[in-house]
């Protein structure tokens, strides 16, 4: 299997037509390899969810190319896309998207059963995945009887269940307290260490710090800090050189210490 799990090349997504046209993504290039976790940060409306929808085969680019595990998602037929989503992609939606008529365990089992796994094995996988997010005792609960945080953990278990190579999470820690949020990041991280690729959309720098690198979206443009024009910094270098650290006290060589 290709080492590149996700590749976006010149991806543009325009919603609407004419005066109401919204350029949600503008020429985005992004590559995520197996064993790598990339965080996407950016203000509300900057295109984060759009990027994830395209990566997950849930939306089609206006132009540009989206490849998952080496396959062009844009040119794939509906059936092939659905198979790709089931087998290769684990998706945590910003608003959970649990099936209300199914229990927590059944929700987690859905993608496995769709893929033809026998119920008994699917149930065992679901049990493990629920335990990973601390929901082992909640398997029989329905979404309506869960708190937002619990529903989110079930949604995460559903995305992580089985052995999918590309994990896409849209603000998965949003409804979770900080300890649970960290537990979820730990699970995501473990999957990535085991060879999956991860894309984590988040507002929280401390959560983004769990990723190997962070890219930033601004108005549909992706900036990674290395693409910005270098001119300003070289112009400023002279000015910056006049500011120094306060490490000049002989007893104070401890770098960065105040006094």
């Amino acid at each position: 299997m290709s080492a590149v799990a996700l590749k976006l090349t010149g991806v543009t997504r325009v919603h609407g037509k004419g005066a109401g046209e919204v350029h949600a993504l503008r020429g985005v290039d992004l590559e995520v390899r197996r064993g790598e976790m990339v965080a996407v940060m950016g203000p509300s409306g900057s295109g984060k969810s759009t990027l994830l929808h395209l990566a997950g085969g849930l939306d089609t680019a206006t132009s540009g190319r989206v490849e998952v595990a080496g396959r062009d998602v844009g040119s794939a037929g509906a059936r092939e896309r659905a198979a790709l989503r089931r087998k290769h992609i684990g998706y945590v939606f910003q608003d959970f998207n649990l099936v209300p008529a199914l229990t927590a365990r059944e929700n987690v089992m859905v993608p496995l059963e769709l893929d033809g796994m026998p119920a008994r094995r699917a149930r065992e996988h679901a049990r493990v995945a629920l335990a990973e997010v601390g929901m082992e005792d909640m398997g029989a609960r329905f979404p309506d009887d869960m708190s937002g945080g619990q529903a989110q953990r079930v949604a995460i278990a559903r995305a992580l269940v089985g052995t999918r190579g590309l994990l896409l999470a849209d603000e998965p820690t949003g409804a979770l307290d900080s300890v649970t949020g960290e537990a979820v990041l730990r699970v995501l991280r473990a999957r990535v260490e085991a060879g999956a690729a991860g894309v984590l959309v988040t507002h929280d720098a401390r959560h983004a710090a769990w990723a190997d690198r962070t890219v930033f979206l601004r108005d549909g443009l992706l900036v990674d800090g290395t693409t910005a024009a270098p001119s300003a910094e070289s112009l400023l270098a002279g000015a910056a050189a006049t500011g120094g650290h306060a490490a000049d006290d002989p007893d104070d060589g401890v770098a960065g210490a105040g006094r």
Partner: protein, 204 residues
């Protein structure tokens, strides 16, 4: 803060020589602020000059000099615990100075590209935060080390929030004073300005 106080409180546990002090300091703070051996000894000799420590003395002429606290030294160590650390006069912060200059300095009549500087810094600080987070994951139950890491994590996070604030403020200023629009921000479309200005609410 100074190395002086750190050495005084370490000596309040037991007498030590310079090398031991350096080791203890680094061990207890996770090696985050390396202390070189020359610095340990020069600080010790200033402490001795000021009557805060005294050599213990030894029969072995080759043994390194071991120091203990004097009564004055014990008093100083105690008063360090009792006194809040002075945050009133902040250390010179290169980043704050750099950005303060960036929004006012013109080079060849042109404003400096502040958003580009902010973005580069944000990426660099995110990298630091990522490395700290990695260390924290591996820190296990070493409480002292873990708390030092937390302090650095909070500082990096605060810096990222401040960078967001700088960017939003620059864009807002450019919008409110279009005649000075070139001040640091490439003239944004009104949509850009609105979204960037709204971001603070969205990120928290």
């Amino acid at each position: 803060m100074s190395v002086r106080h750190a050495l005084l409180v370490l000596l309040s546990e037991r007498p030590m020589h310079g090398y031991q002090l350096r080791q203890e300091f680094e061990r207890r703070t996770g090696g985050t602020w390396p202390l070189n051996i020359g610095q340990a000894y020069s600080t010790l000799s200033r402490l001795e000059r000021d009557g805060l420590v005294a050599p213990v003395g030894s029969d072995d002429p080759d043994a390194p000099e071991t120091y203990r606290l004097t009564d004055d030294g014990t008093e100083q160590a105690r008063s360090w615990w009792d006194t809040p650390v002075d945050r009133g006069t902040p250390a010179r912060d290169e980043l704050a100075i750099k950005l303060a200059l960036a929004v006012t300095v013109r080079v060849d009549g042109k404003p400096v590209d502040v958003p580009a500087i902010v973005q580069r810094q944000r990426t660099a600080t995110m990298t630091v935060l990522r490395d700290l987070t990695r260390l924290k994951r591996e820190a296990g139950d070493d409480l002292a080390w873990s708390l030092v890491l937390d302090s650095l994590v909070f500082a990096a996070e605060a810096e990222i929030r401040w960078l967001d604030h700088v960017e939003a403020s620059v864009v807002r200023a450019a919008r409110q004073h279009p005649e000075r629009a070139e001040q640091g921000a490439p003239a944004p479309s009104s949509a850009t300005a609105r979204k960037t200005a709204d971001r603070k609410g969205a990120t928290r």
